[in-house]
Amino acid sequence: MYHKEKSIQVKNSASALYNNLGVLRIAPRHLTYFTVVHANVVNMVSASWDGLNYSHRQLQSKEPNVATSTSLIMQAAFCPLPSRDLLVVTSQKGIQMYESDGSIMVYWHALDTPETPTAQAVFSRGISAVRESYICVGVSSGAILVFDVPSKGSNITLSEVLKEHKESITDMAPECSGSQECIADLVSADDGGNLCVWKSGEDFQLLNNIPGFDISCPSVKLWKGTVVAGYGTGQIRLYEAVTGILHAEINAHARWIYSLDIAPFSGLLLSAAEDSLVRVWHLTMTPETNSVEVVHLHNECVTDTQICGAKFCDGDGYAFAVTGYDLSEIIRYTQS
């Protein structure tokens, strides 16, 4: 179903972090941007679709009062908004937002770090663009910071802090089907496997809280009102976002799941775990019966690699890319 393409070489190897691959497709310029996090650096590659041109850039983590920061970056992700695309980088010290090509930093938000270091780690993790103009970022305390993003310029403001989660945020995802009918706009997940479903607005509204089982949920997606969550037990669960009803449960992987992605136009689901396997599934929604069907389509094994990032490169799921711990390349697969 898929075959391996030529890999893209990256300057450094990928760190073992959840969701460690960012992909942004720039159709008008026939380019795709990729981001991979390595310790305190984000490696960006801009790849032309004809496979002939690759340009590289490195972004560093930032820290107040220090020239070069060693603070570890937890995640880097693209936030596509209707008016602009931004690249958000979250670290142990704060949140950096760049123009999508990484050329200019447009905003910096420092985390509240206690003056004397505590035993509890402090970091930001979990990034999502929501609806027209919001970017939400999670924090280790469980709080979610909601930023209001203007269509141009750097006048980004912190609009709200959502305090619902009690454990560190792991991942967040917006409703990606493009449908305006879906009530839920955002889902957030934490280290205890708890999922919160939100409606965006001037004041974000909590629609539902789906409790976890003390198993971390490192990766979550929201599509057509269905939450797709991957857990540390290797399970994937599909819930109806607003009601919390469990649609399906898949014993998908033999190790911790690190990344999920959905191709919104085709309903393809991608899952990747530390067990070296990437799996492709197909989700079908039946609105009449309000049911979801899951079918397994394909496996790819990345030999001797603990996978840490996997994303579709386009909305149909025609191609996907994979990163693994200690690998200095982005492996690509295309449909045959």
């Binding site: 760190s15 792991t170 198993i215 399906a248 014993n251 396997l277 049911s291 899951v294 496996n299």
Partner: protein, 285 residues
């Protein structure tokens, strides 16, 4: 051995099993010092402190701990002869990760999709091919002061049995290294010639055509008498070098060493400034 540390952290089945690996280390230390109760008590105290501090840490935070450690180990691909020999590591320095075997405790064997109706009743089950061959989970290890840890990571790597190795190769016990004795004798001669400049090294130099095992397995150690510190023996077709017992060989070797040591002074002199040589020559005039 940093690669051993990396191996244990990377292959740790569940993040919380980092504790079980640590307890394996502590159990072994306790065994070493069992004849000294004072030290043994300190080991127990350390163990208790670890239990107290880390037992209640949630799994997600253990994973963060493990991810941070993995950042430290990133890009290290030092080849270790023991790992290469047991096929735990590939020639390119990366560890081999198996897609078969028992799943970690608390996980389900992959392969099942269950669908539910709105009332929570299971309406369908289907299976999918996993691309590996997984079996039911291993038992839960003991997180207390004493008990069966179940996990083998963190135990003595130099014992012959390696149960965590799921590869079918049993090469380390039936190795077909048919080096005839003549070749072994030549190898020893080469070794003797190299003795002056040879450093103890546990990396295999494949071009020399023989293996040096500086860390014979416990079984082999039991079978052999004391060896002198500078002599190594090949793994199979074992030739015992017992310089202590064979005085004639010892004196011969001592002579060789003596000649070698004198020989070495010359290269050292060459490396000192040529000016000194010139002065020495001029003094002779």
């Amino acid at each position: 051995m940093i690669m051993a540390f990396k191996y244990q952290v990377l292959l740790c089945p569940r993040p919380k099993d980092l504790l079980l690996i640590t307890y394996n280390h502590i159990d072994t230390i306790r065994e070493f010092v069992k004849d000294t109760p004072v030290v043994g008590n300190k080991v127990d105290e350390t163990h208790r402190k670890i239990i107290e501090t880390y037992s209640s840490l949630p799994e997600g935070e253990f994973q963060l701990l493990r991810q941070t450690l993995l950042i430290f180990f990133q890009d290290m691909h030092i080849r270790v002869s023991l790992f290469l020999k047991n096929q735990l590591q590939n020639p390119n320095g990366r560890f081999s990760l198996s897609t078969s075997g028992p799943v970690p405790y608390g996980m389900d064997v992959p392969g099942l999709i269950r669908t539910f109706d709105r009332k929570g009743r299971e309406v369908r089950r289907s299976e999918f091919p996993t691309g590996g061959s997984y079996t039911s989970p291993i038992r839960k290890g003991c997180f207390e002061l004493h008990g069966d840890r179940v996990i083998r990571l963190g135990m003595n790597m130099y014992t012959v049995n390696h149960p965590e190795e799921t590869h079918t190769s049993k090469a380390h016990s039936v190795k077909t290294d048919d080096t005839p004795n003549l070749l072994a004798k030549e190898e020893l001669n080469l070794l003797a010639r190299l003795m002056g400049s040879m450093k103890a090294d546990d990396m295999p130099k494949t071009e020399t055509g023989f293996q040096i095992n500086l860390f014979p397995t416990d079984q082999e150690e039991e079978e052999e008498a004391e060896t002198s510190s500078g002599a190594e023996e090949p793994l199979f077709g074992v030739i015992n070098i017992q310089a202590m017992q064979d005085e004639q060989a010892a004196t011969q070797l001592a002579q060789i060493v003596g000649q070698f040591a004198e020989g070495e002074e010359q290269p050292e002199n060459l490396s000192s400034s040529k000016g000194d040589d010139l002065l020495a020559m001029m003094d002779d005039l």
